[in-house]
């Protein structure tokens, strides 16, 4: 059996999720895909370091997180100094309302510090457990929960708690 072929297949199957997580980190689609590409190349190169007791996506998310923190982030910020803020915002939805709503969510998320954004992306978007998210972020579970709490509070504030049911204030 050709193991490397299987590995490549698994990685290819994860590409949509890797792109989704990358978009919560890097915001601009092109930067996000750069991040995915680096992650894929690095994961394949270091494949022997993957331990089957970790889910492949968690392992790859952690590679992506490190790539972002260590190098891509700085490059992106450098490149974006002169670029208009909206330049990379993705608008793939046909409904203008949905577009606006998504843009406001993306924009709100982009205002959070990296660590909170990563925690939010892992748990609220990717649906990882706290334990898995702690592994990816390489911090204790308590740190993940406090980053999540701060991130959520900030998002609610920015979004004006839109989406919650109206009224009922005690």
């Amino acid at each position: 059996m050709n193991r490397s072929f299987e590995v490549r297949e698994q990685v290819a199957g994860l590409l949509p999720r890797l792109r989704r997580f990358a978009r919560t980190i890097a915001r601009h689609p092109h930067d996000a895909d750069d991040l995915v590409q680096i992650t894929v190349e690095r994961a394949l190169l270091r494949f022997e370091q993957w331990r089957p007791d970790t889910r492949l996506e968690s392992w790859m998310f952690s590679i992506m997180k490190n790539a972002w923190i260590d190098e891509v982030r700085a490059r992106v910020r450098r490149d974006r100094v002169l670029a208009p803020e909206e330049a990379g915002l993705d608008v793939g939805d046909s409904s203008a309302d949905a577009q606006l709503a998504s843009m406001s969510v993306e924009r709100a998320l982009a205002q959070l510090p990296d660590e909170q954004r990563i925690a939010v992306g892992l748990v609220l978007v990717e649906g990882l457990s706290y334990k898995e998210a702690a592994y990816v972020a390489d911090v204790p579970i308590g740190t993940i929960t406090s980053r999540l709490a701060r991130g959520r509070d900030a998002l609610m504030k920015i979004l004006g708690e839109a989406g919650g049911p109206a009224g009922e204030d005690p």
Binding site: R20, R23, L45, L159
Partner: protein
């Protein structure tokens, strides 16, 4: 029960055990404010999810598919094996890495096959090898170097430089070597009886300007060389004391 925001968030994230979850649900049923806080958390989660789920529906860019299909894979790759071996050795504070090997841009000739040009050539190399019982063995200056030279004290410009020494699976000593010659030749020889049997030979140019300090970084190891060492070596390379002791005992 006083329910913190973190507890309600953990409820929405599905992270509570049965007991606390039941308590939250009871509180939601009896207290509209709690129900509302939970609903807000849930709505935020759903909104985030809906926003980024759209990415899943986009076509995956071709360059990413290409990367997953054809980016180089590590794992069983020899360069990694060599790096691991070097790391293990370094970690024990030993002086042996495999620097000479790394500097070779070489193709490896295994076993008794040796390019005709070498054996018949006019230079000194032709006197360093001999064929005995259809095996290639070290002769002349090469045999003397393998017998006598110690890695710590050999001259930087010696015509033969010895690299790592180790025992093979038959518990015989093996040593790697590099010949200082125009074309550069490296090999692996193991002591069998009274001769050094040449198990592997590489053919290529060692890095120039070397003073025994050939750099490991960036130079990919010729796969067959590492394979030969990996498949031959039992245990770890000898350290300086063990090398000297083996030399005094005549590599027996």
């Amino acid at each position: 029960m006083n329910l913190t925001d973190e507890t309600l968030m953990a409820y929405v994230d599905g992270e509570l055990d049965d007991e606390v979850r039941a308590a939250v649900e009871a509180a939601m049923a009896s207290n509209p404010a709690v129900a509302r806080r939970v609903a807000q958390q849930r709505a935020l989660r759903e909104r985030l999810r809906a926003t980024f789920d759209r990415v899943l529906d986009e076509p995956v860019p071709e360059r990413l598919l290409d990367a997953s299909r054809s980016a180089p894979m590590g794992g069983a790759q020899v360069a990694d094996l060599a790096a691991r071996r070097a790391e293990r050795v370094d970690a024990r504070g030993r002086r042996w890495a495999l620097p000479q090997w790394a500097a070779m841009a070489a193709s490896l000739v295994l076993g008794v096959f040796v390019g005709r040009a070498w054996l018949s050539g006019p230079d000194a190399q032709s006197t360093m090898f001999a064929s005995r019982e259809s095996r290639l063995v070290a002769e002349g200056a090469l045999a003397r170097a393998l017998d006598q030279q110690l890695t710590g004290t050999q001259a930087a410009d010696a015509s033969v430089r010895v690299g790592v020494s180790f025992r093979d699976q038959a518990s015989d000593f093996c040593r790697t070597f590099v010949l200082r010659s125009a074309e550069g030749v490296a090999g692996l020889a193991c002591r069998k009886g009274s001769t050094w049997r040449v198990e592997a030979l590489a053919h290529g140019a060692p890095a120039t300007g070397d003073s025994g300090q050939m750099q490991m970084a960036g130079a990919p190891l010729p796969p067959a060389i590492v394979t030969a060492i990996e498949s031959t070596m039992a245990g770890e390379p000898l350290d300086a004391d063990a090398e000297a002791a083996a030399q005094r005992a005549g590599w027996k």
